[in-house]
Symmetry: C2
Subunit: 352 residues, 2 copies
DNA sequence: CGTTATATGGAGAACGTTCTACAACTCGTC
DNA sequence: GACGAGTTGTAGAACGTTCTCCATATAACG
């Protein structure tokens, strides 16, 4: 009877916790206990159950788990999958998660608030155990409201005042300062920043933080109180146009700090096309130290904020919150300069 | 009583289908019917229910849905998030899914069979509605076994014999032929291929297909029966070393077709470092037409296989299968050449 | 030997949906 | 006015877990 039932189940249907229970000759509750290694199971029982699990190839249904308890999944929300910095963060997340029983599921919002919201809601509806939001666009109070329903860590989101969720960031202000200091050390005095134009004045965004650091460093060097910042529009056709205009300006600066390698590399390409020599006519420092920047053909000096490390730290922070920590943590990491030929001919930064 | 209950529920807990039902004064089943717009609901009832849903801000639990019926989620499995070709595929998937009520959740396997398997299993365990596997490493029979449990479309996986799942591919054989034909048209006769060394002889992989196309084109041109193929090891340190060795070989060919822009761009960088002029000393054609290839600094001729389109087609194919189609489809798309300076000085390919 | 503490296993109620089967009601139609 | 057909709504059993009691067995102790 029990054997027949077993066979029938094995032939047709999914192996459920019930299949395992009958096979091992124990109750469903016992199997569940073993799975969650909860208190109150003898060694003998545990062995019987694990054997049955092995033999039957049982995998608990995440859907059912999510309905009642934990789902052992953490959601990662990426603003954009094309910026080569973001995959690094994912690599960090996966690295930490791999040896654990957690898994990452990724959603891509394409920088659209609408989609971002609905993805976060979906992840909550899946009863995921926690969320890592990478450079989210949503305002802080909305994120806080979500954080009441699920543990959240935001990466690349400067909001040290947040009490409902944690943040993990590179110190973007300091990163910008380091870039400017390097340019100063090379003797450049006429320095401009290429930044990203964003809809709102999102103070939390990494870009705004870099602007703040840029301004501070310029002023600290006594180079006038108005640090010039050119904003690059987000729409692709205008993007190149703005850079071309910048390169052909009569009062083009001697050096430029660009908010991201993404645009810095395009700038280098356009400079080559237009006959502007780098670094002789224009020195360039980018941000992110992406793999493309390291190519011999490109050779772009850049500020390195290890995305991988950011991902690792964010994951550990999230897990500690899932496991009961309350009270927000706000973690900062120190970026560093990677000097290359776009800074000086030799590629070496002068020692300060 | 009913009002009090409503209030209590609203204050504390999640808004469930039951909350909506009591609020609208109908049964749970009725609400479910409206949600799934099933047969047998009057306009009046539908209106009452949709109103209640609106007012309460009800969102069905994906976890619970998954337990019983559809979850309206499709899983995408990426082998690697760093190759800039793959995000394009995601963009295509998201584009098709956006207006629908489906959502994509992405898993990254980092080319590890172990992780790939467990991610696929997880997605099944979440009762996702279908899977898009991008360049999976798993053998065909294993995928077929999974396909018995969930609709599957494989992208970048050449297995036209598969009956259990669909495939969507660019014609990689033809792509390689086009590359060789372009090089021939430029007058180069001494052509070699840089390919990727893989553990097994995975005939299904895009790389192998490109090798087949390369060989055929070379033989068709009457250039000897043994088309020379150099394999690049997967491990990063050896990777550069192999390319350096290739570039410094005495019998280095006049032209090279590289399996992917990823390596072609590194090759260009090394060539510059080592004083090998492109295209005067060595002409190069890559594969994927990645955004980096288009940069002025790089200017790499490449075979374009629109990843975005691949993603779109795969998604439509998957949805049609989810909605009942049986019998495998195997779809091919035609790649094309994008000529740039790594092919000829002018960047234009001669007309054949 | 009776009483109490402790360790182990199980019954069964959730969780929030879907969906089958059926009840109730409205029309025609003979 | 009885009967079938069609329409609209509902009750309630799944789905596969988790987890709170509760029952039983064993040990400890006076």
């Amino acid at each position: 009877m029990s054997i027949e039932e077993k066979k029938r189940l094995q032939r047709n249907d999914r192996v459920t916790i019930r299949t395992v229970a009958t096979h091992a000759g124990v109750s469903v509750a016992a199997v569940s206990k073993v799975m969650r290694n909860a208190y109150g199971v003898s060694e003998a029982l545990r062995a019987r159950v694990t054997d049955a699990i092995e033999v039957l190839g049982y995998r608990p249904s995440r859907a059912a788990r999510g309905l009642r308890g934990r789902s052992f999944t953490i959601g990662v929300l990426l603003i954009d999958i094309r910026n080569p910095f973001l995959p690094e963060v994912i690599a960090g997340v996966n690295g930490v998660l791999a040896p654990s029983h957690y898994q990452a599921m990724i959603g891509v919002s394409d920088a659209r608030v609408q989609l971002e919201t609905s993805l976060i809601e979906s992840m909550i509806d899946y009863k995921m155990d926690g969320l890592i939001l990478v450079a989210p666009r949503l305002p802080s109070d909305i994120i806080a409201k979500f954080a009441a329903q699920i543990p959240i860590v935001a990466v690349g989101y400067h909001d040290v005042g947040a009490t409902a969720f944690d943040t993990v960031n590179a110190d973007d202000q300091r990163g910008a300062e380091i870039a400017v200091e390097a340019l100063l050390a090379c003797g450049y005095r006429d320095i401009e920043m290429l930044s990203l134009g964003e809809r709102e004045g999102h103070q939390v965004s990494v870009v705004r933080q870099r602007e703040i650091g840029f301004r501070r460093a310029i002023q600290r060097a006594g180079l006038g109180s108005s640090a010039p910042i050119t904003k690059i529009p987000i729409a692709p056709p205008k993007r190149e146009e703005t850079m071309r205009k910048f390169l052909s300006r009569k009062n083009r600066p001697r050096a430029v700090f660009c908010w991201s390698d993404l645009d810095a590399i395009t700038l280098l390409s356009l400079a080559m096309e237009m006959g502007v020599r780098v670094p002789e006519d224009l020195a360039v420092v980018g941000y992110d130290n992406s793999s493309t920047a390291a190519l011999g053909l490109v050779n772009l000096a850049s500020i390195d904020q290890s995305g991988r490390e950011l991902g690792q730290v964010a994951t550990r922070t999230l897990i500690s919150r899932i496991e009961g920590r309350t009270g927000a943590e706000h973690i900062f990491q120190m970026p560093s300069l990677v000097s290359r030929n776009s800074l000086t001919r030799s590629g070496k930064a002068p020692v300060t």
